[in-house]
């Protein structure tokens, strides 16, 4: 009997652990380390209608217990993602969550419509929270009405459930969550990165070519936990939590806060085996804590 299987809209997960979008490419690199079918799901890199090169380098900088990135949604474009990446991934028994990005509403709609047809894409993750692009991204993620309308339009065309990825860079995260719920979202993923910056001591200039970047890693975990705690009490949608997860203990903390599954981002860079290691350790930890099934942990902090 598994302690880890979780059913979410569109997703029958054998376990609730998945790599976060942008931190795992399209899976090829990590397939060198382990069988990708071990994973609960894979959130692939953001896909846009056309290929994007992204931002100039340096694209990463380190901060205390965290890192900044400003990749700028580099990706090979919708067509190639479908023909090369998704078809390659179909050899694995793992549901794909496709991260959808764009500059205009039409871009999101186009990508969502097409990519949701891929047989292994079981859900979309609407990226309205990327802090590293000039237009689109976070612009959609900070105004409730805009987020709601975009969600609605994407829902109209998507053949699979739609999860919306929330930005933590807002005054009122609950309001954003309610707006996308009203727009018909099937679930939420949160949090994307916090906007941050680091300056070079010698030059005085930003280390990142893009100047600002998205802060991720253990440093942001308390903010992620707080936001999931607030949002999970205010909406009916399931939440895939993320932000600084490094260990099985962290996963449980996200569940306690209100998450029903968890994504791991930055930690993959530190330990390429982090996802399978967590998957292996979770049942033992649940046993130790006295839970029959991980779903018992969801929302325990406020239930």
């Amino acid at each position: 009997m598994s302690r880890l299987n979780i059913d979410l809209p569109g997703l029958k997960l054998k376990n609730p652990i998945m790599p976060a979008s942008g931190c795992f490419g399209f899976g090829r690199e990590y397939s060198q380390f382990y069988d990708l079918s071990t994973l609960g799901a894979i959130m692939i890199k953001a896909t846009t209608t056309e290929p994007r090169f992204g931002n100039p380098t340096p694209r990463v900088a380190e901060t205390r217990a965290g890192m900044l990135n400003a990749i700028g949604l580099q990706n090979p474009g919708l067509k190639k993602v479908m023909s090369e990446e998704l078809s390659w991934l179909s050899q694995y028994d793992v549901p794909i969550i496709a991260n959808v990005a764009g500059s205009l509403e039409e871009d999101y709609v186009e990508v969502a419509k097409e990519i949701s047809k891929a047989s292994n894409v079981h859900a979309l993750e609407l990226n309205i929270s990327c802090p590293n692009v000039k237009t689109g991204g976070i612009a959609f993620g900070t105004i409730p009405e805009v987020a709601r309308d975009l969600t609605r339009k994407v829902k109209e065309v998507s053949e699979v459930p739609v999860y919306v990825k929330l930005s933590p860079n807002v005054t009122n995260i609950v309001e954003m969550a309610k707006a996308v719920e009203a727009g018909g979202a099937d679930g939420l993923t949160m949090i994307n990165t916090l906007v941050g910056m680091r300056l070079d001591l010698k030059t005085g200039k930003p280390i990142l070519a893009n100047r600002t970047g998205g802060l991720s890693g253990p440093a942001v975990k308390p903010v992620a936990i707080r936001m999931i705690y607030e949002v999970s009490q205010a909406v009916e949608l399931p939440i895939i939590g993320m932000g600084g997860v490094q260990s099985a203990e962290d996963v449980i903390e996200f569940f306690y806060a209100g998450a029903s599954a968890v994504a791991v981002g930055t930690a993959n860079f530190v330990d390429p085996f982090v996802c399978p290691t967590i998957i292996e350790e979770l049942p033992l930890l649940l046993e130790k804590l006295g839970f029959e099934h991980i779903s018992e942990c969801t929302g325990r902090s406020w239930k």
Partner: protein
């Protein structure tokens, strides 16, 4: 295949001012296939700092399963690394990337190896392998100042070795390019700061030239797109190479410096 392994530290010493030589033992040495590959090192068990540190493999011994690195103690990560003692275990991910193609130069030819500062280390294994193959090697090594010079003797054993320092405190005063002008050779292998690589690429477009690049890295394995360069053929387009997995060594023109 890339491995993640706890490698035992065999030797660790300061060989020039703030320059450390570090030898470890590990199974992952089996997987090294070219000089110029690198490893990605976790310098702490805590999360400050978070990221691994990329360090080139400066030499390796497959029989003994040992590899040696040379690094400069600089910021937080390398300072932590410098405190680790023989006997301790180091979390290493590697070998990573593609190194210098030894096969690109044949026995009758002369290879010029040009290193700048902390770009010198990966050239050492290359020099050894070229020499073993019977290629004539000439080395040009540039450093900031006398106290930063290392491995001159080691390189000298394989072939003629010129040292330049920026402040003239040791060897010739000036840059490696000043010395290169007077040498004749068939093929260049180089590693060092980007301005040096650019000068060499511009000055020697007629030669076979291989450059090893540095870029700030996240994953080190090709997944995060932190270390991307524009392709040389398509400078305004979207095609790219990743320094960590397509490089760090590229043929001249392959990527935009």
């Amino acid at each position: 295949m890339i491995k993640k392994e706890l490698c035992k530290i065999l030797q660790h010493k300061e060989i020039a001012k703030d320059i450390y030589e570090l030898t470890v033992a590990g199974e992952l040495v089996d997987e090294i296939n070219e000089p110029g590959q690198f490893v990605h090192i976790r310098v702490t068990d805590s999360w400050d700092p978070v990221l691994r540190r990329p360090i080139s493999i400066s030499s390796y011994d497959k029989k003994r399963k040992q590899l040696t690195m040379i690094y400069r103690k600089d910021g937080q990560g390398t300072s932590l690394l410098s405190q680790m003692a023989p006997g301790m275990e180091l979390d290493i991910l590697g070998p990573l990337g593609n190194g210098f193609p030894v096969s690109e130069v044949s026995i009758a030819e002369t290879a010029l190896l040009v290193g700048g500062g902390i770009g010198v280390p990966p050239l050492y294994e290359l020099s050894n392998q070229l020499t073993a193959k019977g290629v004539k090697v000439i080395h040009v090594l540039g450093f900031q100042t006398e106290s930063a010079v290392f491995y001159e003797n080691e390189f000298s054993k394989n072939g003629e070795t010129f040292v330049a320092t920026v402040d003239g405190s040791y060897g010739a005063k000036g840059f490696v390019t000043d010395i290169m002008k007077d040498l004749s050779f068939d093929c260049i292998y180089t590693c060092g700061p980007t301005p040096m690589l650019k000068a060499i690429e511009q000055g020697y477009s007629n030669k076979r030239l291989f450059l090893s690049l540095e870029e700030r890295m996240g994953c080190g394995v090709g997944a995060c797109f932190a270390c991307v360069c524009k392709s040389g053929e398509d400078p305004n387009g979207t095609s790219y190479k990743k320094v960590c997995s397509d490089g760090p060594v590229f043929r001249a023109g392959e990527v935009m410096l």
